[in-house]
């Protein structure tokens, strides 16, 4: 029998990015004991990389903004397969959450009259993103971290959860290991909140950090929860493409919000050539109008570079495919050109986009105040995830909650930039509140020792094989990423997705024979071996879900079905684990919104 240490908390939060921290703070404020498990050190989670800002209709820059417009923008951007209730709550509650962050010490950029400044972003009708230069995520996580550490929350640094346990139908405990020594830890809790972020590491080119291996998606799925919308993966249009080692690193949409334009190798601003019908009325008719919009002219409409991410990413792909790409397979993103318009352009770029300046200068040897950047699409975000009740964030498993990127519903088929950080706050808070409520009403579940030992035995199996030999976990991970990129990436076809399902199955068999050298102490080979199960599960969910949707919508684009199909626009893809352990898929109707929200959507179509 392998030993483990037991911890008791009323609420256990798995994941310490924006959503997890916000959930932990809220649960603690409700008067329950809280444990917070971080896969890395506290304050290093992926939220730190968010750049552009958080969307909230504060109406500080344009007084015409309100929650209704934000709601309508979110639904349009999500192609109307969002859960309307989440989109409504998000739009209504985001402003309060942003102001709350300020009361905890966040220092946002200011308007001339001393209020929180807001910037333009793709798909948002008005300047809506509260921000701090291009490091808004850092400001957010640091504020939550510095506030949270004084709330009596128990933080478990560098600890990874590998299994959830139920007592009957209810989630009652989680098993994890610490990185430092590889010791196992059992966390008993009245309620558990999953806030583990995304799945980007299932793809080869990604803006996501190593932690993004779909852990929470898989924990919930294995526990019987439903995953929805897994076909909707967001490929951010602008990632770095050169040099190879930095391929995929994010280039914020804020560059385009500040006036940056996309050009092909012929120097043409190609985004004006393809503007979707439902955005025509809101889009600038010429470059001059687009420029005026980025400079705050309220009568101007936004430039086509600020169309939704799914559309911009595909336009870039089309230019590259047509042979009009940049030397390293991207297109040009040019912010340096604004010197034609502004005397202080160089200072302005460095002030508004400091980390972009820094990133290109140090990693690519390019001065963005003087030259154009080379950019191309990068795997950025998964709209799909754990199906939750929109008000409480509880999953289909009692006592198991989810918030942030690993939860689904708010963003539909495509997330608008800036809606993620506000998502973390609004639904992190709700998850914490309702998890605390649940924990007050439920506690003391039982877990069988045999179940715990079974999970530990499985976790240790790769180390046990080091004498006899076996597969290299890194090799399987790289191969899977390469195949997912090629077969279920930004442009999809039926035969390729079917093929991907078989390939994933093959990798699963190989993953069962993985052998890892060394001990349990801070051994990344061992960690990679354990992450494989999660990567394979989300890869299968993405491939199956995508293969079941013969239409193109938002982040899901099919070469063989390039148009939208109204019939599928009314359906949500659901996967869950069947009693035989295989993945089951079905389509449920999209929840229909009340008439008053339809009126809001109609009014904002103009």
């Amino acid at each position: 029998m392998v030993e483990f240490k037991t911890h008791e908390h009323d609420v256990l939060v798995i994941g310490a990015g924006g959503a997890g921290l916000r959930a932990a703070i809220e649960a603690s404020a409700q008067g329950v004991t809280v444990g917070l498990v971080c896969k890395s050190l506290l304050g290093k989670a992926h939220t730190v990389m968010a750049e552009g800002g958080m969307a909230a209709s504060l109406a500080n820059v344009d007084s015409r903004d309100n929650w209704q417009v934000h709601f309508a923008d979110t639904m349009r951007g999500g192609q109307y397969v969002n859960h309307w209730r989440m989109a409504q709550l998000h739009a209504q509650e985001a402003p309060v959450c942003v102001n709350e962050l300020e009361s905890w010490g966040a220092v946002f950029d200011r308007t001339k009259d001393g209020r929180i400044l807001q910037r333009n972003f793709g798909g948002h009708r008005y300047p809506r993103l509260a921000h701090v230069g291009d490091r808004t995520g850092l400001e957010m996580i640091r504020t939550l971290q510095d506030h949270g550490v004084h709330q009596g929350i128990d933080v478990h640094h560098e600890c990874t959860i590998i299994r959830l346990f139920k007592d009957g139908e209810r989630t009652v405990a989680a098993l994890g290991y610490d990185r430092e020594k590889g010791r196992f830890r059992l966390f008993r809790a009245g309620a558990i909140v999953i806030a583990t972020g995304g799945i980007g590491r299932a793809f080869q080119v990604t803006s996501n950090s190593w932690e993004y291996t779909g852990d929470g998606h898989t924990l919930a799925y294995d526990s019987g929860a439903e995953l929805i919308d897994m076909e909707y993966v967001q490929f951010h249009p602008t990632g770095m493409v050169w040099p190879p080692s930095v391929r995929g690193i994010l280039v914020t949409e804020g560059v385009r919000g500040e006036g940056g334009v996309l050009r092909n190798s012929e120097g043409k601003r190609f985004m004006f050539d393809d503007i979707p019908d439902n955005y025509k009325a809101q889009t600038a008719s010429d470059p001059e109008e687009g420029w005026r919009y980025t400079q705050g002219d309220k009568d101007a409409r936004r430039p086509p570079e600020l169309l939704t991410r799914d559309h911009v990413a595909r336009c870039i792909m089309n230019e590259v495919k047509a042979g009009r790409g940049s030397p390293h397979g991207g297109v040009y993103l040019d912010i340096a050109w604004i010197k034609e318009k502004l005397k202080d352009a160089e200072q302005r770029i460095k002030k508004k986009l400091p980390s972009m300046y820094h990133q290109f200068k140090e990693l690519a040897g390019i001065d963005i105040t003087k030259e154009a950047m080379e950019v191309g699409p990068t795997t950025h975000y998964v709209m799909g995830g754990i199906r939750v009740d929109p008000d409480t964030q509880q999953s289909s498993v009692p006592g198991l909650f989810a918030a942030g990127e690993c939860a689904a519903g708010l963003h539909g088929a495509n997330r608008l930039g800036g809606n993620s950080l506000s998502d973390l706050l609004v639904f992190g808070k709700r998850a914490g509140e309702y998890a605390a409520k649940f924990a007050k009403e439920n506690s003391g579940g039982k877990v069988a020792d045999a179940e715990i030992q079974d999970a530990i035995t499985e976790a240790l199996s790769s180390l046990e094989r080091q004498e006899t030999g076996g597969e290299n976990p890194y090799e399987i991970q790289f191969a899977l990423q390469k195949d997912m990129q090629a077969l279920v990436g930004i442009v999809r076809k039926q035969d390729e997705m079917d093929n991907a399902i078989d390939i994933v199955d093959g990798y699963r068999k190989r993953a069962q024979k993985v052998a890892v050298h060394g001990s349990r102490e801070y051994n990344p080979g061992w960690h990679t071996a354990m992450d494989l199960h999660n990567l394979l599960t989300v890869s299968e969910a993405i491939a199956r879900s995508a293969g079941s949707r013969p239409e193109s919508r938002g982040g899901h684009f099919r070469e063989d079905f390039p148009d939208k199909d109204e019939k599928f626009g009314k359906l949500t893809t659901v996967v869950n684990k069947g009693s035989d352990g295989s993945m089951q898929l079905r389509h449920d109707p999209v929840a229909q919104w009340p008439d008053e929200l339809q009126t809001i959507i109609d009014e904002n179509q103009k």
Binding site: K44, V48, G137, V149, S355, Y522, N523, G525
Partner: protein, 248 residues
């Protein structure tokens, strides 16, 4: 493509040694890429801490050829590759394993610093009016990614191990950000003078030099904090005033 020798420290708190690994360096690679390549090719259990690989999270701090750097922001083309490249964990903290340091002391220090305490909201809707020029300096401090390289290079910690008496450059920046925050009402100067040990800093500016976020730690954070301490505690007129009007 060049084959390069990376001389990596392998071991744990009971001891260790440098071991050589060969790997190919291609255009644009950073040191962290090379470490990952070694990990995938020949040392699967090589411990390294990293997250974003974009200079934003401050996890991959180490000493490259003796210089405290972020591995993800150090391009191989900027260091000599015709001789072995040494990489070792930060010296100012205990080692966990290989290139990973135990930085938990930093988290304990932060916990001791009094948190942000805002004044009452200025406006009826619960918001404050704050102008950009009043927060420019604080925003510079808040760029900090907590990589702890400034702590690593600071001789008070690195050479003299004054971890119990001195909070280090990172936390003077943190304290300065709170003290200069236009909304904050807390007073931390007594601690700055005593428990935080600001007097140990003799302004060698090593911290400013290694900061990957280019925060002017010494000039903008530590010196102003020292000046506030001097004003408060060593100004002869103020001392006399305090003596005369001290509460009995």
């Amino acid at each position: 493509m060049t084959e390069v020798t990376f001389r990596l420290w392998r071991g744990d708190k009971s001891g260790g040694e440098f071991k050589d690994y060969q790997t190919d360096v291609t255009e644009g690679m950073v040191v962290l890429d090379a470490i990952h390549q070694v990990q995938a090719e020949s040392a699967g259990d090589l411990a390294v801490r990293w997250n974003c690989k974009a200079g934003k999270c401050g996890s991959c701090s180490a000493e490259i050829n003796g210089n405290p750097r972020l591995m993800c922001m150090t391009r191989c083309s900027d260091i000599p590759l015709d001789e072995p490249v040494t990489v070792q964990p930060m010296k100012a903290f205990p080692v966990i394993r290989d290139l990973v340091s135990d930085v938990s002391w930093n988290y304990e220090v932060k916990q001791r610093i009094k948190p942000f305490k805002p004044r009452k909201p200025d406006n009826a809707d619960g918001t404050w009016t704050v102008h950009q020029e009043d927060i420019d300096r604080v925003q510079e401090f808040r760029k900090c990614i907590e990589c702890f390289l400034c702590q690593d290079v600071c001789h008070v910690l690195r050479e003299h191990s004054k971890h119990d008496e001195f909070i280090g450059p990172r936390y003077f920046v943190y304290t300065a950000a709170l003290e200069m925050h236009p909304l904050d009402t807390e007073d931390r100067l007594p601690e700055v003078k005593e428990a935080y040990g600001v007097g140990y800093c003799n302004i060698t500016k090593c911290c400013t030099v290694v900061c990957p976020e280019h925060i002017t730690i010494t000039d903008n954070a530590i010196i102003p904090i020292k000046e506030r301490v001097v004003d408060r505690f060593y100004d002869p007129l103020k001392r006399l005033f305090r003596k005369l009007f001290a509460k009995s």
